[in-house]
Assembly symmetry: C2
Homo-oligomer: 336 residues x 2
């Protein structure tokens, strides 16, 4: 049986359950308005490691093990670990996977990795290829900054359109059986390029892809924005979110007060992060703490989570290429 | 129904068919003993582009479009494109995906990408999440060399354990219906780290992961090496292949004359590539040309293809980390 509805959306026959979620964040994120929802807040973003890369890896390992633990499972119960991150050759994910000796599928979707892994994990479970899947991702301000932009020691001034890479890692455990909030649909995005070249304006680069995926999801499922308690994007930030609202209006869909962005939710205005948070860890930590909590409490019954990714490397940027974007979305319904 | 057999292998209920394969290679690979099987051989490895990165991207685009064409399909018939490559943030795959406006799933498995995408594509098709999937990957000697090692202009001497990154791209089109060779099983590998640190000895870094995946496949499917007409690894090269044979013997499996390695098949001894070819493009081009051809002709009836990946980045290497490896395998049977 083919589970596709419309052009781009998959409707799961036996919606996978989210057994647990775990979110670990850095000290700046520990001052976030969402702080009380996080499982663990680092006192020091080096996490007692020699390098920030190793700190990121350690956060990701803790997120994966923490989520497995919260689901009352052992790592041997996990059939497949789906993970990726922003670092070259996704070293946070691959090195973390050494510690979880299970089948590993490396994914790359830049900051869209949380929903990419949730969508793919749901396909694997619903398709009968796995019973339990761990979906995890991470980012770290200091590893991203020095890889993509400038050495931290330079103290470069940040332009007003810039976003702040979230230091954090999140993991969800999906299961074929049991209880939990259900992933009912997944929409895999297309790579969309509107010609943005500014590495300090990721929101604008990702908004067209976000609009495309959301439009497809609404059309494929024959729903509209008002049918959801929450529509939340990954890290479009303030500017990108405004662009998304405009672009979607052109497609005939009006986002209302039920729309928000993890990047904007992560930091308060006082935290001087300009357009808001970004990075794989942004939607990963907000999803696996605040959003799951609000589904637990019944404040949300049906939501769309759509993480968004800017697909660039320093090489592509230096060679004058534009920044393509991508967005993957899942619909999550409160468990019974 | 759960399709897992044993600990790590998935047995497909309705084995996906390989509708077509396309392989494009660079000029050095055009002198390979396998040259006559390739679909397209570049005269110049810059492929009329300004940068090698753009040349790699163009090869990948041609491989994807070529495979779609050979399957008598249009790109709009493809539900999902699964692709990844060696470059930072898999820019070859993501930029190529702009041209194929379909759902895109970015994967990363270093040189194991061909079987990672074939295995994952098979799961998506067998699970009813897609009708037609394109699985594609690429590598380019000049982009890999300057990203992972030294600027080409330095003319560094290569150590005898080194391998030569294949300039090439390959794509397979998988389908739920129709005819073609069938992917009957997939074994996703674990990340295995035996502590190798030498970036010029990838074969040794990958061999333990290859042995682990192959052992799991044999145990899970209750088969032995003699049950296959061909067991072919991705790019272990001469040294890595010898290590694999030794390691598997410890596990109780004896690889015979039906075992070979795409890296060793790609170049003749005269071509001075030391341990042989490597890179995502290595197994991708050999699979989508020579191996499919031998399945067509009936020389092979049942094979194991297992691409292997070394999971390092320049950052992890410079920080003194070891090189973890991974290997993903698929069993392919001749179509009826």
């Amino acid at each position: 049986m083919i589970k596709k509805v419309g052009e781009n959306t998959i409707k799961f026959t036996l919606p996978p359950k989210i057994m647990s979620g775990y979110a670990i964040v850095g000290p700046k994120e520990g001052l976030s308005p969402l702080a009380k929802y996080f499982d663990y807040i680092l006192k020091d973003d080096a996490f007692n490691e020699k390098t920030y890369e190793r700190a990121e890896r350690k956060m990701l390992e803790q997120a994966i093990c923490g989520a497995i633990d919260k689901a009352n499972l052992l790592s041997t119960d996990i059939d497949i670990l789906l993970s990726g991150d922003l670092l070259n050759q996704i070293i946070s994910a691959t090195f973390s996977a050494r510690q979880i000796q299970t089948s590993f599928i490396g994914v790359f979707g830049a900051c869209s990795t949380m929903t990419l892994s949730l969508a793919l994990g749901s396909c694997l479970i619903d398709g009968g290829c796995a019973n339990k899947v761990a979906c995890a991702t991470s980012s770290h301000f200091s590893t991203a900054e020095r890889q993509f932009r400038y050495p931290l020691e330079l103290g470069c001034q940040r332009p007003p359109t810039s976003q702040w890479t979230v230091t954090g890692a999140g993991c969800s455990i999906l299961s074929r059986e049991g209880k939990g909030h259900r992933i009912t649909h997944a929409t895999f995005g297309k790579v969309i390029d509107f010609g943005i070249k500014d590495m300090n304006n990721m929101g604008a680069a990702m908004a067209p892809a976000a609009a495309d995926t959301l439009k497809n999801l609404f059309n494929d499922t024959n729903t509209k924005p008002q049918d959801y308690d929450l529509i939340v994007t990954g890290d479009l930030g303030k500017l990108g979110s405004e662009l998304l609202v405009d672009l979607l209006e052109n497609y005939g869909f009006k986002l209302g007060s039920n729309y928000c962005d993890c990047g904007q939710m992560m930091f308060s205005n006082k935290q001087r992060s300009f357009m808001g948070g970004s990075g794989c860890g942004c939607s990963a930590t907000v999803m696996n703490s605040y959003i799951l909590n609000k589904l637990d409490s019944g404040d949300y019954k049906k939501i769309i989570l759509m993480s968004t990714g800017a697909l660039l490397s320093t090489t592509s940027a230096q060679q004058g290429d534009t920044i393509p974007g991508i967005a993957h979305a899942v619909i999550v319904e409160k468990g019974k």
